[in-house]
């Protein structure tokens, strides 16, 4: 029995380190190759030794697909391809291919240069890894080999994020990566056609949340930022360079313009400035509004937002600063935080410990930092909520759903919801756990057009209510399967047909001449067999379709006539019916 097997190496009942192995019709595909933010040891990367104990990954995997540039989806890629060793194709979209190496390099710098980790991948490894990448277009069908094809769909979420359909013959799996089902200020909503995959593997970050409207959160955000700068405070917004940063910039930019504000907004330099360039050059991947208006005004050319210089942090007066990284655990955002945290006029967002209410932080060098600034947590991350996930399942109409990239408890809730509301099997394997789904693919063969047309023409007849049987011969030669009419099969194979014919003697009591008997037989059959072609031939014989009836008078008894009914095996039912009908005798002719 053919089957589809799925094993998460990461993101199984967990967020982070996305890496999912899929086996479909003998092909092995790895979906994403991410790192885990929560670990600094071996656990930060997926356990690739699970894939193959001995033997090369390249021999086992047919391809690797990266859904988008977030490090929890691509952070382990150079380690996987260059240090573990994989030389096969790696597929991703163009924007992902452009941005991914920059984030990897950034990640490497923090890990090696700042934290001093040894045995990490090098810059050269990132470059070599990216050489193995094949860029795909949206909706392009990429033929990985003769049988395996993949196709990317728009996923929203971040620039270049894609969902992927993996297909072999009539079996298919869709992997969503991260997606959002509502357009935001810079990206559109995810979309997929009714592709009816055997399995849909979906993220479930917000499995239990029905999120309030984005507008409210945006208004809230703007209000808080505005209040802080009004009272002369400084606002620190720790962000990741790409993604939400651009969305928030657009938000602030339009707000500043509308309110005619003069308070400076800064964007930490380097990466983020570059990031805006990517958005400008990949306009077709943004939402419809930006695409439509970019000629008049490119939304990513900001008027109010300037590059940040370290010295600005000490400037007096209000300001807004976007700084990386978003987790506030290192880099510029941490530096600025240290400077501003002591003043309750200021405002900052995010930061795990601070968010949990901790107001005194121990920094490196045992220095204790007292946090007096206001801290707000605002989530703008673009994932589908429960409603959105259900919506996508409804769009794609999969046979089964498998949840990844979420917390077990929340998954449990969504699993029940999907199974009850959509009546679709739902799975949520943990890391290292394999889900096996039997499939029953139908078998494509070539049917001769003659046979098909003959059947279809008859299917159009009004009495075609009853299911009718198509009869043919399947010729199997190597992997070439052809369904042809039996006559054609015999002819092609050089075989002669064997004719099987029956002739039955039916005795009728009738004193009239043979010709008249035949005529009575004719009118009787004509009245019974309304749908059949009954004919009286000039030589006195009667035919029903191709069954032949001839009357003869046996010499010994003039009161009896013998009717010879003759048919071939192809007319077996009709012939048999006629003999039993005639055995009952002929109705009395009206005088």
């Amino acid at each position: 029995m053919p089957e589809i097997r799925v094993t998460p190496l990461g993101a199984g009942q967990d967020v982070g380190r996305s890496c999912i192995l899929v086996s479909i019709a003998g092909k092995n595909v790895m979906l994403d190759c991410g790192m885990h933010m929560g670990f600094n040891d071996d656990r930060r990367f997926p356990d690739f030794s699970y894939i193959t104990q001995n033997g090369r990954l390249t021999d086992f995997l047919d391809c690797v697909i990266i859904s988008h540039f977030h490090l929890d989806h691509c952070g382990a890629l150079p380690y996987f391809s260059e240090m573990v060793g994989y030389d096969g194709p790696i597929y991703m979209t163009h924007p992902t291919q452009a941005i991914c190496p920059i984030l990897l390099e950034d990640y490497r710098k923090i890990a090696v240069d700042k934290k001093g980790e040894a045995n990490f991948f090098t810059s050269q490894m990132i470059k070599d890894c990216m050489k193995k990448v094949v860029a795909v277009h949206l909706h392009q069908t990429v033929q990985v080999d003769d049988e395996l094809e993949i196709k990317a769909y728009y996923a929203g979420h971040v620039l270049g994020a894609a969902m992927f359909q993996i297909k072999v013959g009539s079996e298919s799996v869709v992997y969503t990566g991260d997606y959002n089902m509502t357009p935001d200020r810079h990206l559109g909503a995810a979309w997929i056609d009714k592709c009816r995959p055997n399995l849909l593997i979906t993220e479930s970050t917000y499995a239990t949340t029905i999120r309030d409207s984005k507008r409210c959160r945006e208004r809230d955000f703007l209000k808080k930022v505005h209040e802080t700068v009004e009272r002369g405070g400084k606002v620190l917004i720790p962000v990741f360079a790409l993604g939400r940063a651009q969305e928030l910039c657009i938000l602030l930019e339009t707000f500043w313009e509308r309110m005619n504000l003069k308070v400076p907004i800064y964007f930490s330099t380097g990466l983020t400035e570059k990031a805006n360039h990517y958005y400008k050059l990949f306009i077709p991947w943004t939402n419809q509004k930006i695409r439509k208006t970019f000629v008049q005004r490119n939304m990513f050319e900001f008027k109010h937002i300037k590059a940040f210089d370290r010295a600005f942090a000490d400037n007096p007066g209000p300001m807004v600063v976007f700084a990386t990284p978003g987790m506030l655990h290192a880099g510029q955002s941490l530096q600025i935080f240290r400077k501003w945290a002591g003043n309750e006029k200021n405002m900052g967002t995010v930061g795990h410990k601070i968010l949990s209410g901790q107001r005194k932080l121990e920094m490196e060098g045992r220095q204790v930092l007292e946090v007096k600034m206001q801290v707000e947590y605002m989530s703008f991350s673009a994932h589908a909520d429960a409603k959105g996930i259900m919506q996508l399942v409804g769009q794609a109409e999969p046979e089964s759903v498998l949840l990844v990239h979420g917390e077990a408890k929340k998954m449990e809730f969504l699993k029940q919801k999907i199974e009850q509301e959509l009546r679709v099997n739902c799975y949520m394997p943990a890391n290292g756990e394999t889900v096996t789904l039997p499939t029953s693919p139908s078998i494509p063969v070539g049917i001769s057009l003659g046979l098909l047309k003959r059947e279809m023409a008859q299917g159009l007849l009004p009495e075609a209510k009853k299911p009718r049987l198509l009869h043919g011969t399947l010729i199997m030669k190597d992997s070439n399967f052809r369904l042809v009419s039996s006559e054609q099969a015999l002819k092609e194979l050089g075989l002669a047909e064997h004719q099987l014919r029956f002739t039955c003697r039916v005795h009728l009591h009738d004193t009239r001449k043979e010709q008249e008997t035949a005529l009575r037989v004719y009118s009787h059959l004509k009245s019974v067999l309304k749908d059949h072609c009954v004919q009286h031939l000039p030589d006195g014989s009667v035919t029903v379709e191709s069954v032949l009836l001839q009357a003869a008078a046996p010499s010994e008894d003039p009161g009896t006539k013998v009717l010879l009914v003759s048919w071939t095996y192809q007319d077996e039912e009709l012939g048999s019916f006629l003999t039993s009908l005639l055995k009952k005798g002929l109705p009395q002719a009206p005088s």
Binding site: L449, L470, H471
Partner: protein, 659 residues
Amino acid sequence: MKLYCLSGHPTLPCNVLKFKSTTIMLDCGLDMTSTLNFLPLPLVQSPRLSNLPGWSLKDGNAFLDKELKECSGHVFVDSVPEFCLPETELIDLSTVDVILISNYHCMMALPYITEHTGFTGTVYATEPTVQIGRLLMEELVNFIERVPKAQSASLWKNKDIQRLLPSPLKDAVEVSTWRRCYTMQEVNSALSKIQLVGYSQKIELFGAVQVTPLSSGYALGSSNWIIQSHYEKVSYVSGSSLLTTHPQPMDQASLKNSDVLVLTGLTQIPTANPDGMVGEFCSNLALTVRNGGNVLVPCYPSGVIYDLLECLYQYIDSAGLSSVPLYFISPVANSSLEFSQIFAEWLCHNKQSKVYLPEPPFPHAELIQTNKLKHYPSIHGDFSNDFRQPCVVFTGHPSLRFGDVVHFMELWGKSSLNTVIFTEPDFSYLEALAPYQPLAMKCIYCPIDTRLNFIQVSKLLKEVQPLHVVCPEQYTQPPPAQSHRMDLMIDCQPPAMSYRRAEVLALPFKRRYEKIEIMPELADSLVPMEIKPGISLATVSAVLHTKDNKHLLQPPPRPAQPTSGKKRKRVSDDVPDCKVLKPLLSGSIPVEQFVQTLEKQHGFSDIKVEDTAKGHIVLLQEAETLIQIEEDSTHIICDNDEMLRVRLRDLVLKFLQKF
């Protein structure tokens, strides 16, 4: 399978393919050469043009002098310019299911088709094709609408009058169907019917046919199309290029194994080498500017202009021309320059990798930044303040009949210091210049047409090996002006089938097979038997389901339980359905074994076997039954004893193979 040919212009094709149950229009080109018969539309009142003498017949009859004007021995229609539409009568265009667009030059007739023929289908095109196509249409509409012309001439179109006109007016075809330009509203409505597609995207049409666009290497987003079912494949090659310019390279491999390859849109200047032409363009430009003259480049707002700007970007510094302003004037100049930078995914590898840095793929961004290149929507407004001479002006329309180019022709035509350089190959430059004669300015003809030439075509055909080639008739003979050049035509075996406007071609197809799916349950129940080494057979009796042109075989239903006899049975209820097919039989009956079985298993003791010329006769004496057995036939002759007959039948069947 038929091809309806609606356009006679080989590079602006419009064909309709009937393939299986679908009707597919391939391209929607608009022949604009008709506008060459009209007087230019000047942006600024031109005393010269308005004072041209009216034309009169040889006998002095001047009744046409309002409509026709004479200029340097040529006669022009003084009216709103009109275009030659594709044939609309050959086939009912409301039956067209889809329109496939190959590049932005080949969609200019779209509003005429989608808005005025009852068309209700879908148009497929790539995103750059649609965006740039929209710009071309917008420019065209703008050029024509901003110079309202009161007069619309129609007298000259009368067949009896047209005969009396001098050529080329006399020979103009289908003048009665020529139409004025569409409106922006029609353009928007037409473009709203387009669905965007990407290269190598498989698009299902009604489950019967699959169409796929492939990169054709000619322009941003330009595509060739594959139209295929599971057993037949038509390739539509239109406007392809093997040169490395800015677009993504041509995908040739996917064109392999076509039954029919429709080949249109080859180079219009087969004797000119585009690289050489670019060189000539640069040197002529430099020469003119150095001598203090201006250069006018009539062009479309997208396409080759990007390549020319890139050449100039590299050239002007080395030629010491960095201070010479480059002006690009078009209502869509800004949009065109902006759009070119955002379609990285549709560009050649070099340009694509620039975006990864991230830098704009085209260097004209830098030309704009450094103020070397300036763009304006028209000559009015800012341009008149900034205008400095000598300069280089890129502007449309290449026909020289409308657009800002008309103004520059009038302005610079009188001085021999100035030069007009023709780079677009769509219009004969001599005809384009005719209404401006006599002209002092220099005219340089550097047509840059990157589309396939005949050498490349023959290489391509050898590579992809289609069974049949179909092409416009112009490609099956040398160009009229170079009739000795036998190399300037398509040479293939079997010879290409050619078409001309308003012709219907029957394509040489023999469809034999169709795909059908066998349900797994049915497949499991099949019993294959090996007939010859490597060849197995299985007889299939199944229920055929056809939905959305997809065919599926399901297992036959279990025999229905006889319904309990509440209803009175009638004789006719028992009449068998004669359409239930019995398998064919093959093989032969081994007589000895047959008789033995009859004796042992069926208890006949009075069997007599007689030899005949062709076989045997088996006689069951008491039952008065006779069985004639020959190599390829068996005949059972018996009394009306159904039980016996069925026993004999089943025994015979046991010895035979069923198909």
